[in-house]
Protein backbone atom coordinates (compact mmCIF):
# COMPACT_ATOMS: atom_id res chain seq x y z
CA UNK A 1 0.00 0.00 0.00
CA UNK A 2 1.21 3.49 -0.83
CA UNK A 3 1.52 6.16 1.81
CA UNK A 4 0.50 9.62 0.63
CA UNK A 5 1.55 12.69 2.57
CA UNK A 6 -1.45 14.96 3.15
CA UNK A 7 -0.22 18.57 3.58
CA UNK A 8 -2.47 18.81 6.66
CA UNK A 9 -2.37 15.34 8.25
CA UNK A 10 0.98 13.86 7.19
CA UNK A 11 1.61 10.33 5.93
CA UNK A 12 -1.60 8.37 5.50
CA UNK A 13 -2.62 5.16 3.71
CA UNK A 14 -3.69 5.59 0.11
CA UNK A 15 -7.16 4.11 0.75
CA UNK A 16 -8.06 7.36 2.52
CA UNK A 17 -7.53 9.37 -0.69
CA UNK A 18 -9.41 9.96 -3.91
CA UNK A 19 -7.91 11.18 -7.15
CA UNK A 20 -9.02 14.54 -8.53
CA UNK A 21 -7.49 14.83 -11.99
CA UNK A 22 -5.01 17.28 -13.46
CA UNK A 23 -4.10 20.26 -11.26
CA UNK A 24 -3.71 23.95 -12.03
CA UNK A 25 -6.52 24.10 -14.58
CA UNK A 26 -7.84 27.63 -14.73
CA UNK A 27 -11.51 28.15 -15.54
CA UNK A 28 -11.91 30.77 -18.27
CA UNK A 29 -13.05 34.07 -16.79
CA UNK A 30 -15.76 34.52 -19.39
CA UNK A 31 -16.89 31.14 -20.75
CA UNK A 32 -19.57 32.66 -22.96
CA UNK A 33 -16.86 34.44 -24.93
CA UNK A 34 -15.31 31.11 -25.98
CA UNK A 35 -16.22 29.12 -29.05
CA UNK A 36 -17.12 25.43 -28.75
CA UNK A 37 -13.62 24.26 -29.53
CA UNK A 38 -12.04 26.44 -26.83
CA UNK A 39 -14.64 25.37 -24.27
CA UNK A 40 -14.13 21.71 -25.15
CA UNK A 41 -10.38 22.16 -24.73
CA UNK A 42 -10.97 23.47 -21.20
CA UNK A 43 -13.53 20.82 -20.28
CA UNK A 44 -12.04 17.68 -21.74
CA UNK A 45 -8.47 17.98 -22.97
CA UNK A 46 -5.79 16.85 -20.50
CA UNK A 47 -2.05 16.39 -20.82
CA UNK A 48 -1.87 12.59 -20.31
CA UNK A 49 1.65 13.08 -18.99
CA UNK A 50 4.20 10.28 -18.97
CA UNK A 51 6.43 11.28 -16.09
CA UNK A 52 5.95 13.94 -13.41
CA UNK A 53 2.32 15.06 -13.37
CA UNK A 54 0.74 17.80 -11.24
CA UNK A 55 -2.61 16.48 -10.06
CA UNK A 56 -5.31 17.02 -7.48
CA UNK A 57 -5.98 14.61 -4.64
CA UNK A 58 -8.53 14.71 -1.86
CA UNK A 59 -7.98 13.32 1.62
CA UNK A 60 -11.58 12.15 1.47
CA UNK A 61 -11.54 9.78 4.44
CA UNK A 62 -9.39 12.05 6.60
CA UNK A 63 -9.42 15.83 6.77
CA UNK A 64 -11.58 16.01 3.65
CA UNK A 65 -9.41 18.61 1.92
CA UNK A 66 -8.19 18.84 -1.65
CA UNK A 67 -4.47 19.34 -2.25
CA UNK A 68 -2.06 19.06 -5.17
CA UNK A 69 0.66 16.50 -5.75
CA UNK A 70 3.51 15.85 -8.14
CA UNK A 71 3.46 12.19 -9.05
CA UNK A 72 5.52 10.30 -11.58
CA UNK A 73 2.95 8.43 -13.65
CA UNK A 74 5.48 5.77 -14.65
CA UNK A 75 6.59 4.85 -11.12
CA UNK A 76 3.70 6.09 -8.92
CA UNK A 77 6.32 7.93 -6.87
CA UNK A 78 5.11 11.14 -5.25
CA UNK A 79 7.75 13.88 -5.54
CA UNK A 80 5.80 16.43 -3.51
CA UNK A 81 2.40 17.30 -2.09
CA UNK A 82 1.34 20.90 -1.52
CA UNK A 83 -1.69 22.95 -0.57
CA UNK A 84 -4.20 24.28 -3.06
CA UNK A 85 -3.16 27.79 -4.05
CA UNK A 86 0.57 27.12 -3.67
CA UNK A 87 2.79 27.26 -6.73
CA UNK A 88 3.88 24.03 -8.34
CA UNK A 89 7.18 23.08 -6.69
CA UNK A 90 10.23 22.12 -8.70
CA UNK A 91 10.64 18.39 -8.01
CA UNK A 92 14.35 18.52 -8.78
CA UNK A 93 15.00 21.34 -6.33
CA UNK A 94 13.71 19.67 -3.19
CA UNK A 95 13.87 16.30 -1.55
CA UNK A 96 10.76 14.20 -2.08
CA UNK A 97 8.28 14.35 0.78
CA UNK A 98 8.75 11.41 3.12
CA UNK A 99 6.41 8.49 3.15
CA UNK A 100 5.70 8.13 -0.51
CA UNK A 101 5.79 5.12 -2.75
CA UNK A 102 7.42 2.74 -0.33
Amino acid sequence: MLLISCPYCGDRPEIEFTYGGQAHLVRPADPSALDDQQWAEYLYMRTNTKGVHAERWRHARGCGRFFNALRDTTTDRFAATYKIGAARPDPAASEPTPGTAR
Partner: protein, 184 residues
Protein backbone atom coordinates in the same frame (compact mmCIF):
# COMPACT_ATOMS: atom_id res chain seq x y z
CA UNK B 1 -49.35 -6.62 11.93
CA UNK B 2 -45.64 -5.99 11.95
CA UNK B 3 -43.70 -6.69 15.09
CA UNK B 4 -42.72 -3.59 17.02
CA UNK B 5 -39.25 -2.21 16.43
CA UNK B 6 -38.24 -3.10 19.97
CA UNK B 7 -37.39 -6.57 18.59
CA UNK B 8 -34.27 -5.14 16.92
CA UNK B 9 -31.29 -6.05 19.11
CA UNK B 10 -29.02 -3.37 20.49
CA UNK B 11 -26.23 -2.30 18.18
CA UNK B 12 -23.56 -3.80 20.35
CA UNK B 13 -22.98 -5.21 23.78
CA UNK B 14 -20.11 -4.82 26.19
CA UNK B 15 -17.13 -7.11 26.01
CA UNK B 16 -13.84 -7.16 27.88
CA UNK B 17 -12.35 -4.85 25.24
CA UNK B 18 -15.32 -2.88 23.89
CA UNK B 19 -18.05 -0.95 25.62
CA UNK B 20 -20.70 1.36 24.20
CA UNK B 21 -20.65 4.96 25.34
CA UNK B 22 -23.83 6.74 26.46
CA UNK B 23 -25.73 9.11 24.15
CA UNK B 24 -23.94 12.41 23.74
CA UNK B 25 -24.29 15.88 22.35
CA UNK B 26 -22.38 16.14 19.06
CA UNK B 27 -21.93 19.30 17.07
CA UNK B 28 -20.00 19.85 13.86
CA UNK B 29 -18.32 23.25 14.00
CA UNK B 30 -16.77 24.98 10.99
CA UNK B 31 -14.92 28.06 12.17
CA UNK B 32 -11.79 30.00 11.36
CA UNK B 33 -9.32 31.19 13.97
CA UNK B 34 -11.30 34.31 14.90
CA UNK B 35 -14.55 32.40 15.33
CA UNK B 36 -12.82 29.71 17.38
CA UNK B 37 -11.33 32.32 19.68
CA UNK B 38 -14.80 33.77 20.22
CA UNK B 39 -16.27 30.31 20.76
CA UNK B 40 -13.77 29.56 23.52
CA UNK B 41 -16.01 31.53 25.88
CA UNK B 42 -18.72 28.90 25.51
CA UNK B 43 -16.89 25.65 24.79
CA UNK B 44 -13.33 24.34 25.30
CA UNK B 45 -11.34 25.18 22.17
CA UNK B 46 -7.83 23.99 21.31
CA UNK B 47 -5.15 26.59 21.85
CA UNK B 48 -2.92 25.23 19.10
CA UNK B 49 -3.44 24.92 15.36
CA UNK B 50 -2.03 21.41 15.40
CA UNK B 51 -3.80 18.96 13.10
CA UNK B 52 -5.40 15.75 14.34
CA UNK B 53 -5.48 16.73 18.00
CA UNK B 54 -8.32 16.53 20.51
CA UNK B 55 -8.71 19.09 23.27
CA UNK B 56 -10.61 17.61 26.21
CA UNK B 57 -11.80 19.55 29.23
CA UNK B 58 -13.71 17.42 31.69
CA UNK B 59 -16.63 15.75 29.93
CA UNK B 60 -16.40 18.05 26.91
CA UNK B 61 -14.00 17.70 24.00
CA UNK B 62 -13.18 19.46 20.76
CA UNK B 63 -11.73 17.19 18.06
CA UNK B 64 -9.86 18.50 14.99
CA UNK B 65 -11.29 16.86 11.88
CA UNK B 66 -9.87 19.12 9.18
CA UNK B 67 -8.66 22.69 8.73
CA UNK B 68 -11.32 24.85 10.42
CA UNK B 69 -13.49 21.77 11.01
CA UNK B 70 -14.13 20.43 14.53
CA UNK B 71 -16.29 17.81 16.21
CA UNK B 72 -17.60 19.00 19.57
CA UNK B 73 -18.54 16.31 22.11
CA UNK B 74 -20.45 16.95 25.32
CA UNK B 75 -22.72 15.01 27.69
CA UNK B 76 -26.28 14.37 26.46
CA UNK B 77 -27.62 16.73 29.13
CA UNK B 78 -28.56 19.56 29.06
CA UNK B 79 -28.88 18.92 25.35
CA UNK B 80 -27.46 20.06 22.04
CA UNK B 81 -29.79 23.03 21.79
CA UNK B 82 -28.34 24.59 24.93
CA UNK B 83 -24.73 24.12 23.81
CA UNK B 84 -25.64 25.40 20.37
CA UNK B 85 -27.32 28.50 21.78
CA UNK B 86 -24.34 29.32 23.99
CA UNK B 87 -21.91 28.90 21.10
CA UNK B 88 -24.03 30.91 18.69
CA UNK B 89 -24.21 33.74 21.20
CA UNK B 90 -20.44 33.61 21.79
CA UNK B 91 -19.48 33.54 18.11
CA UNK B 92 -21.96 36.25 17.19
CA UNK B 93 -21.71 37.58 13.64
CA UNK B 94 -18.42 35.84 12.79
CA UNK B 95 -18.78 33.41 9.87
CA UNK B 96 -19.22 29.84 11.06
CA UNK B 97 -21.41 26.76 10.74
CA UNK B 98 -22.72 24.81 13.70
CA UNK B 99 -24.76 21.67 13.07
CA UNK B 100 -26.30 19.28 15.58
CA UNK B 101 -25.29 15.73 14.59
CA UNK B 102 -25.94 14.13 17.99
CA UNK B 103 -28.08 11.36 16.56
CA UNK B 104 -26.14 10.74 13.38
CA UNK B 105 -23.49 8.63 15.06
CA UNK B 106 -22.86 6.49 18.11
CA UNK B 107 -19.68 6.00 20.09
CA UNK B 108 -17.88 3.16 21.77
CA UNK B 109 -14.54 2.52 23.38
CA UNK B 110 -11.95 -0.08 22.49
CA UNK B 111 -9.68 -0.63 25.44
CA UNK B 112 -7.10 -2.96 26.89
CA UNK B 113 -3.60 -4.00 25.82
CA UNK B 114 -4.90 -5.36 22.50
CA UNK B 115 -6.93 -2.26 21.59
CA UNK B 116 -4.59 -1.03 18.88
CA UNK B 117 -4.07 -4.52 17.51
CA UNK B 118 -7.83 -5.10 17.22
CA UNK B 119 -8.36 -1.77 15.46
CA UNK B 120 -5.45 -2.43 13.13
CA UNK B 121 -7.28 -5.52 11.93
CA UNK B 122 -9.49 -3.12 9.96
CA UNK B 123 -7.59 0.18 10.01
CA UNK B 124 -4.40 0.94 8.08
CA UNK B 125 -3.13 3.77 10.31
CA UNK B 126 0.08 3.40 12.29
CA UNK B 127 -1.36 3.09 15.80
CA UNK B 128 1.97 2.78 17.60
CA UNK B 129 1.92 5.37 20.41
CA UNK B 130 4.89 7.06 18.72
CA UNK B 131 2.92 7.56 15.53
CA UNK B 132 -0.53 8.02 17.04
CA UNK B 133 -0.01 9.45 20.54
CA UNK B 134 -2.56 9.95 23.29
CA UNK B 135 -4.70 12.96 22.37
CA UNK B 136 -4.49 12.33 18.64
CA UNK B 137 -7.74 12.03 16.71
CA UNK B 138 -8.68 11.69 13.07
CA UNK B 139 -11.34 10.74 10.64
CA UNK B 140 -10.27 7.51 9.00
CA UNK B 141 -11.48 4.28 7.45
CA UNK B 142 -12.31 1.18 9.48
CA UNK B 143 -12.70 -1.34 6.65
CA UNK B 144 -15.69 0.00 4.69
CA UNK B 145 -16.92 2.41 7.35
CA UNK B 146 -15.77 5.96 8.03
CA UNK B 147 -15.04 6.56 11.71
CA UNK B 148 -13.52 9.16 13.96
CA UNK B 149 -10.77 7.62 16.05
CA UNK B 150 -9.47 9.32 19.19
CA UNK B 151 -6.79 7.86 21.45
CA UNK B 152 -7.77 8.91 24.98
CA UNK B 153 -5.22 6.71 26.75
CA UNK B 154 -2.38 4.49 25.54
CA UNK B 155 -4.71 1.49 25.61
CA UNK B 156 -8.04 3.25 25.11
CA UNK B 157 -9.66 4.54 21.90
CA UNK B 158 -12.88 6.49 21.49
CA UNK B 159 -14.59 5.52 18.22
CA UNK B 160 -17.39 7.53 16.60
CA UNK B 161 -19.28 5.70 13.87
CA UNK B 162 -22.35 6.57 11.86
CA UNK B 163 -25.34 4.88 13.47
CA UNK B 164 -26.26 2.55 10.62
CA UNK B 165 -22.65 1.34 10.33
CA UNK B 166 -22.30 0.40 14.00
CA UNK B 167 -23.53 -3.22 13.68
CA UNK B 168 -21.07 -3.76 10.83
CA UNK B 169 -18.13 -2.20 12.68
CA UNK B 170 -18.76 -3.94 15.97
CA UNK B 171 -19.33 -7.32 14.33
CA UNK B 172 -16.15 -6.91 12.31
CA UNK B 173 -14.06 -5.93 15.34
CA UNK B 174 -15.56 -8.82 17.31
CA UNK B 175 -14.46 -11.21 14.58
CA UNK B 176 -10.98 -9.69 14.51
CA UNK B 177 -10.67 -9.90 18.28
CA UNK B 178 -11.83 -13.50 18.19
CA UNK B 179 -8.89 -14.38 15.98
CA UNK B 180 -6.43 -13.00 18.54
CA UNK B 181 -5.83 -15.82 21.03
CA UNK B 182 -4.95 -13.43 23.86
CA UNK B 183 -8.25 -11.58 23.53
CA UNK B 184 -10.28 -14.47 24.93
Amino acid sequence: MLEPLARIPPAFSSTSWMNPLPPATRLLFFADRAARAAAAGAFPMPVTEEACRAHADGARACLWLGPDEYLLLAPAEPGAARVQAALTAAVGPLPHALVDISHRQVAFEIHGPLAAQILNGACALDLDPAGFPVGMCTRTALAKADVVLWRTEVHRFHVEVWRSFSPYVTALLTEIAGALPAAH
